[in-house]
């Protein structure tokens, strides 16, 4: 007896966001990157469309990062030179995107001026031809000064800029509107605040297809199931037609994994955990793998090893497409 395959039909789909601009669109990128557009749950190719592959961005900073040696080893020769670092990520490690974090703008660190930051951006734009994600240092007042300058310096490049939060979204949204960029909307693992922030940003008239959700991820072993469940609900909301939840999702995996002891404590400290060099990479890869299946679209990683592992997994999961 033939078995009928039961398919779920959803009334809507995840919105598509386009990052980067080629010369034809007024930018200098070699190609654009599209994310989102899914009309089903992750990788259920038999049921709906998944027109765009999930993509991997690699994190580059404008300072020598305070990462543990496992994560700095592959980039030791380029740390402190964001352009060379970005180039290595793209050409050697195969990153789809570069995620430039302007950590040096932090008044507690180098306190780079907005113009200095804009100079960094220009160098990175020249060094690589992939689309860029650029985020501030995380100090709200400083980011308010830096990001509008970054938006202006990157005008035409259709950047993805971060990071907007519920209590601090106006300056960045305005900058994205004026210079036609996209925005990262960060919420604290809370679907309601996620939706509220998207409404707030869209009420400033930034189009919905210019917003990317950062739901706040956690590392494996640190409440990862909370984010998983929130991402699942965001996806279901989008498929059910909730336009305020219909944006692609960005996962800052490298940052989260970099904070946990499982990815930074050596085997001398925890002999039963095995070698850190393998463990740290696997921890990042496993965390990313989990969010890949939860419905993530853009993964921000730090180690080329986990980039390789995640890409292999994406290849496999997309093979059925």
């Amino acid at each position: 007896m033939p078995v009928e395959r039961i398919k779920e039909r959803y009334p809507s789909k995840v919105g598509e966001v386009v990052l980067g601009a080629t010369a034809a669109e007024g930018g200098t990128r070699a190609h654009r990157v599209k994310v989102g557009g899914d009309s089903t749950l992750p990788f259920l190719h038999f049921e709906g469309e998944m027109p765009n592959r999930p993509v991997i961005a690699m994190e580059v900073q404008d300072v020598v990062p305070e990462w543990n040696p496992v994560f700095t080893a592959p980039i030791r020769d380029v740390m402190g030179d964001p352009a060379a670092w970005a180039q290595k990520c793209v050409e050697e490690f195969g990153a789809d995107l570069v995620y430039l974090k302007l950590a040096g703008a932090d008044p507690e660190k180098q306190d780079h001026s907005p113009d200095h930051c804009a100079g960094t951006l220009r160098k990175v734009l020249e060094a690589v031809k992939v689309p860029l994600i650029v985020t501030g240092c995380g100090v709200e007042d400083k980011d308010d000064a830096v990001m509008p300058v970054i938006a202006e310096a990157g005008a035409g490049e259709n950047l993805l800029l971060g990071t907007a939060t519920q209590d601090h979204y106006k300056t960045l949204t305005a900058a994205c509107m004026v210079h036609k960029h996209n925005i990262i909307a960060l919420s604290p693992i809370d679907i309601n605040i996620c939706k509220q922030l998207n409404i707030l940003i869209s009420e400033m008239n930034l189009a919905l297809d210019r917003i990317v959700i950062d739901p706040s991820v956690g590392a494996l072993g640190y409440g990862i199931e909370y984010t998983y469940s929130i991402m699942e609900r965001i996806r279901l909301g989008a498929l059910q037609g909730d336009r305020m939840l219909s944006m692609p999702v960005l996962c800052t995996v490298g940052y989260e994994v970099g904070r946990v002891k499982e990815a930074s404590a050596g085997a001398d400290e925890f002999p039963s955990w095995g070698e850190l060099a393998d463990r740290a990479v696997l921890w990042e890869a496993m965390t990313a793998s989990c969010f890949l299946q939860a419905g993530g679209h853009i993964f921000v990683l730090r180690h080329p090893g986990s980039v390789r592992l995640l890409r292999r997994q994406i290849d496999g999961l997309m093979a059925g497409n």
Binding site: D167, D190, N192, I193, K195, Q196, I199, L200, E203
Partner: protein, 644 residues
């Protein structure tokens, strides 16, 4: 240690106190109540006074800089060290509370007539008078005065003789002889047994009276009830004098639990409050304390505990247990209430720690427990209590809305007394503001209904976004204050007041949390019984706040469900009205206990979905706009906002 005299101005009253007495306590001893919401911790800054002369010690507290510059100190942080003269500004005093007792809103009276609770339960008052005519004693018929009276009951009514209270007994010999063996006996139901509580010579035409009491966290209201007609003949209300120990129940529970004299201080404060109101009633109606032969008291669970001097400590601590939810019938004399000492005092049963006798009283008054339509009952007081149900089932919950709708925790918040801003219109862009105040007085602050109106108006005018954050606007009304950005509703130069009336960013967040808590409570109750918002056929709004509330505003900000305005009804102070009903209808009183046991209490802190409902309600009007279709359509310009 010496004793010192403290003179308070402009009253000119003085009081002798021991060295080291806290100034706020000295003021209380002089009969002056100061504002306080922190319970004397020096953090609310409301009890600021000006020392004109004398020696004192003071510690730094949170006080407005302009007040500090004027040489003011916090009474709760200041101790007497010598004779002093102190000026207490009107802004630091607890004012008398007129609006509390006004039967006010016509809509409320009409609705009460429609409800007709006495008709529903039957008129069987708690006490009545009878004329007893006795045979005069002789040398051969020499039974005692009391036996003579009791014999009359056995002979004429053919029933068991009633008991007699000590006060009545003490009056008996003289009354019998003064009345030439004709006496008027007042009988009262003392919790199942009939008892004589008063004996008057001759045929007294004066009706017996009862006292209905609502003890609110913020204020107390009493009604004088004529037990012959069943009508409330007079009403009084004032602030609960416990306010000096903190604004909310939690602060008071802590005070009761952690200070050696805490419980007795709080008990004394509420008794003083009620006794002062009784004194006013007696004087105004030419009555004696003995004329008041019964009382019915409704209050939230904490207030009930404090009224009866029962330790409330565990109401505050997980798993949130009150000492009792049913209370014995006690005598006014043993409590220290200035009624007839033998008057029985009926205390309404509670449901749980945070759903008390005031709510049971409200449900008793309305037809909630006996009618078919699914009804939502909301009492927005210092806490928000919500009941949902009909004749078949009743569920209740309490959500911690906080005191902001009663003026607490809001920079310029106040109760709906004259001068309170109750209506706010804001022109797009926020440059122009039009205000309406209670009584048309110059604005002195903003009350709950004004806050809800302001929230809706500020959002509509584009001054705030849906989260309640200020937008970047070019208007002089939006400025950087001491606590961050603030919006000036009324500048001091416009009002002639001491300071500008503002809503700060923190005030707006508080308001959104309060309205969100109420809506989330409603949604949680609905979820518990698996009903949607549209299943609510009627909404009863209780509490003083409800008198001034514009339902359209409350829907626009997402505090009340988006239902047709016709489904909303205002019951006013249902707590005191339910207490009145208990006095004039014994069957109603019996029902109160049944209602309390029928109410299923939903503990929101144990509910997994409450937090989620709460966060989604922290938006104007709500994260899910589909729950507020009329607001959504109005914003899209499809049709005007409800009723506007």
């Amino acid at each position: 240690m010496g004793r010192h005299t403290v003179v308070f101005q402009p009253d000119g009253v003085s009081v002798k106190v021991a060295e080291g007495t806290e100034l706020g306590r000295a003021a209380a001893m002089a009969g002056i109540q100061l504002k306080s919401t922190c319970g004397g911790e020096g953090t609310c800054g409301l009890c600021a006074v000006k020392v004109l002369s004398g020696r004192f010690a003071t510690r730094e507290g949170r006080i407005l800089p302009e007040r500090r510059r004027k040489g003011m100190v916090l009474a709760c942080r200041t101790w007497v060290q010598g004779d002093m003269e102190v000026e207490i500004p009107s802004t630091s005093r607890l004012a008398a509370h007129q609006v509390l007792v006004e039967e006010g809103a016509r809509r409320e009276i009409a609705f009460e007539r429609e409800l007709d609770p006495v008709g529903r339960y039957g008129f069987h008052p708690v006490g009545h008078k009878i004329l007893a005519v006795l045979d005069p004693p002789t040398l051969t018929d020499n039974a005692s005065d009391l036996s003579r009276l009791l014999t009359r009951f056995r002979r004429e009514d053919g029933r068991a003789a009633p008991a007699i209270g000590l006060t009545a007994l003490r009056r008996l010999p003289r009354a019998l002889r003064e009345g030439k063996w004709r006496v008027t006996v007042t009988l009262v139901d003392a919790g199942g047994t009939e008892e004589m509580v008063r004996v008057e010579p001759g045929d007294s035409r004066r009706p017996p009276y009862g006292l209905a009491v609502d003890i609110g966290t913020t204020s107390c209201v009493v009604h004088l009830v004529d037990l012959r007609s069943g009508l409330a003949v007079d009403r009084r209300g004032s602030f609960n004098r416990q306010a000096r120990y903190g604004d909310d129940v939690i602060t008071r529970i802590i005070h009761a639990a952690e200070r050696p004299e805490g419980l007795s201080e709080l008990n004394a404060a509420v008794l003083e409050t009620i006794n002062a109101l009784v004194d006013e009633l007696l004087a105004a109606n030419a009555l004696e304390a003995e004329d008041l032969i019964a009382a019915a008291v409704a209050g939230n669970t904490t207030m009930t505990h404090l009224f009866l001097s029962i330790p409330p400590d565990h109401i505050r601590l997980e798993p949130y247990l009150p000492a009792a939810v049913s209370f014995p019938v006690v005598r006014a004399g043993e409590l220290g209430l200035k009624l007839n000492p033998d008057a029985p005092v009926y205390v309404f049963p509670a449901v749980a720690s945070y759903v008390g006798g005031d709510i049971v009283s409200g449900v008793l008054l309305t037809d909630l427990a006996h009618a078919a339509p699914v009804t939502l009952f909301i009492d927005v007081g210092t806490n928000g209590e919500i009941v949902l149900g009909n004749r078949d089932w009743l569920v209740a919950c309490a959500c911690s809305a906080g005191p902001c709708f009663e003026g607490g925790g809001i920079t310029c918040g106040m109760r709906a007394t004259p001068g309170a801003i109750e209506r706010v219109r804001v022109e797009p862009g926020g440059r122009e503001v039009r205000l309406q105040t209670v009584g048309g007085m110059p604005p002195a602050g903003i009350c709950g209904s004004g806050m809800i109106d302001a929230l809706a108006a500020l959002h509509e005018a584009g001054v705030i976004d849906r989260s309640g954050n200020f937008r970047d606007l070019d208007t002089p009304r939006l400025r950087e204050g001491e606590e961050g950005p603030e919006f000036v509703l009324a500048a001091a130069h416009e009002t002639g007041g001491e300071r500008d009336i503002v809503l700060t960013a923190a005030d707006l967040k508080n308001l959104i949390r309060a309205k969100g808590a109420i809506y989330a409570g409603i949604r949680s109750l609905l979820a518990a019984v698996e009903l949607g918002v549209q299943a609510i056929e009627r909404v009863y709004i209780a509490g003083g706040f409800g008198n001034y509330l514009d339902v359209r505003d409350a829907i626009r900000v997402g505090m009340l469900p988006d239902l047709e305005l016709e489904r909303y009804r205002f019951v006013g102070n249902s707590s005191v009205k339910g207490a009145r009903l208990a006095l004039v209808s014994r069957p109603a009183w019996a029902e109160a206990e049944r209602i309390a046991r029928r109410l299923t209490y939903l503990e929101l802190s144990a509910s997994s979905s409450y937090m989620e409902e709460f966060v989604s309600a922290l938006f104007l009007p709500h994260t899910d706009l589909d729950q507020f279709p009329s607001v959504r359509d109005a914003e899209l310009g499809v049709r005007p906002c409800p009723g506007r």
